[in-house]
């Protein structure tokens, strides 16, 4: 319990200490997760919407794949990305292994099924009569799709929130493909692992509190957006 209390106060001290190493870790965490979220949203929302709106025969199979993807263990994703980006792998020429780019790729793979799968569910949850109604009011095909997406927006935001929570807190993939290199690929989660291993519990707790606070603030921001909707 003392350790926890100490860790909490140390977190407050750390935040106000203007320690450049800490801010570097925080900014890298936000940059990696932010970019991964941006890309997975840009691809995942249209894919989820298309699946939710279409009646293609393979939809059941694709849905099963997506739902499986939602439960992918990050460490398995890390291993896969590691093999792909390693020097002998098919994408080794990029030289991305042990760089933030590799971490972003891994997080996109984790976030994409969450964004697209939950967007698909949100779109399917929209009253089917709405499409007929807006078409009757003179909507073009594109306007009809947009109307459905607007109606599903609460679910789409929830999908993005879930994906954010999933990748900001994951450690297995970023540890494997980033390597937790100080000043280069160290993020909050990998720093927590390192400090726990070296017995720096207070610092690990402090970083944990910062990670939680960031996740909380991001969720509050998205929920406010949801509320406005």
């Amino acid at each position: 319990m003392d350790e926890l209390t100490r860790g909490f106060f140390q977190a407050i001290q750390l935040i106000f200490s203007a320690d450049p190493a800490l801010y570097e870790i925080i900014f890298l965490s936000l940059r990696v997760t932010g970019l991964a979220l941006l890309v997975s949203t840009a691809i995942g929302v249209p894919v989820g919407a298309a699946l939710g709106l279409s009646n293609i025969r393979a939809r059941g199979f694709i849905t099963a794949l997506l739902y499986t993807g939602m439960g992918l263990p990050p460490v398995v994703v890390g291993l896969f990305v590691y093999l792909m980006l390693s020097r002998s792998g098919p994408f080794g020429v990029f030289g991305w292994l042990f760089t933030p780019s590799a971490m972003i790729v891994a997080q996109i793979i984790i976030a994409f099924p969450l964004v697209s799968g939950l967007t698909m569910a949100a779109v399917q949850g929209v009253d089917p009569a709405l499409r007929l109604q807006v078409r009757s009011l003179g909507a073009t095909r594109a306007q009809e799709v947009w109307a459905v997406l607007r109606e599903a927006r609460l679910g789409v935001i929830a999908a993005i929130v879930a994906a954010f929570g999933g990748i900001i807190s994951e450690v297995g993939a970023v540890m494997l493909v980033g390597g937790n290199i100080e000043g280069k690929t160290r993020v909050l989660t990998t720093a927590i692992v390192l400090n726990t291993r070296t017995g720096e519990f207070s610092l690990a707790i402090a970083l944990g509190v910062i990670l939680l606070a960031l996740a909380f603030l991001a969720n509050v921001a998205m929920l406010r957006l949801q509320g406005k909707s």
Partner: protein, 240 residues
């Protein structure tokens, strides 16, 4: 009588080989209120969806304003016709945004017309209320206002007052009558309520098992029907 706005010829709609609509011939005249009555499952709603170009006929054709419509329907034509469905489906937005929706689709601004129509349906006090917090009657009035604001040439009404209280029924019927009288909007009303058909429409048709059994002016249709099935239906003796 004015020229037909719709001429339906050998129109057939099948779902998985089940015939839902099979109308040999039907004419609907510009500027009239035409009621289609019949029991549930007679194909009335499917006929309306066909008239709104929301469904493609399996066979046959619809001639709309002297143009045979088959295959791709131009958006300008589709936008002349709209439907108010039995169950109003409103957008997750305020009353005003819902009413203005069709104008937005046409790239038009939500101007004074929107407020005028909202007042016409008696919802000015709820202009900025959330549409999903309204009562069933209020929701249907929003749906009607949303259809009227785009000034359709043809307004299709699919059981618009089913499950509503007498106050809302009276209000909606009055608005429909006024729309037809003042703007000359052609109105096709689908209802299983023969009294409503009698109150609103000068011409009525009976649909049964997808077919139009009889069409006539209201007095003849109710007082001296030609077909025994029409007689049974208007007397409330039809078992279905």
């Amino acid at each position: 009588m004015s020229a037909p706005i719709y001429r339906v010829e050998n129109l057939r709609k099948e779902y998985e080989r089940r015939v839902v609509v099979d109308v040999e011939q039907l004419e609907i005249y510009a500027g009239e209120i035409f009621a289609v009555v019949g029991p549930s499952g007679a194909g009335k709603s499917t006929l309306l969806r066909l008239l709104n170009f929301l469904e493609t006929p399996t066979y046959g054709q619809i001639v709309y304003r002297d143009r045979v419509l088959d295959g791709h329907i131009p958006i300008e034509t589709r936008r002349q016709v709209t439907t108010v469905f039995q169950r109003p489906v409103l957008l997750r937005a305020g009353v005003r945004d819902n009413v203005a929706y069709g104008l937005g689709l046409r790239g038009q601004r939500a101007d004074g017309r929107v407020d005028e129509i909202i007042a016409q349906v008696g919802l000015q006090a709820l202009t900025y209320a959330s549409a999903h917090k309204l009562s069933g009657g209020e929701m249907q009035r929003v749906a009607l206002a949303r259809a009227l604001v785009i000034e359709p040439r043809v307004l299709l009404l699919d059981e618009p007052t089913a499950n509503l209280d007498p106050y809302n029924v009276g209000l909606i019927e009055e608005i429909v009558r006024e729309q037809n009288r003042a703007r000359g909007t052609t109105i096709v009303l689908v209802t299983h309520n023969v009294f409503q058909a009698k109150r609103l429409a000068p011409r009525v048709g009976l649909m049964l098992n997808g077919r139009v059994i009889e069409v006539g002016n209201t007095q003849q249709f109710f007082d001296a029907p030609h077909d025994p099935r029409t007689a049974a239906f208007v007397r409330g003796e039809m078992v279905y």
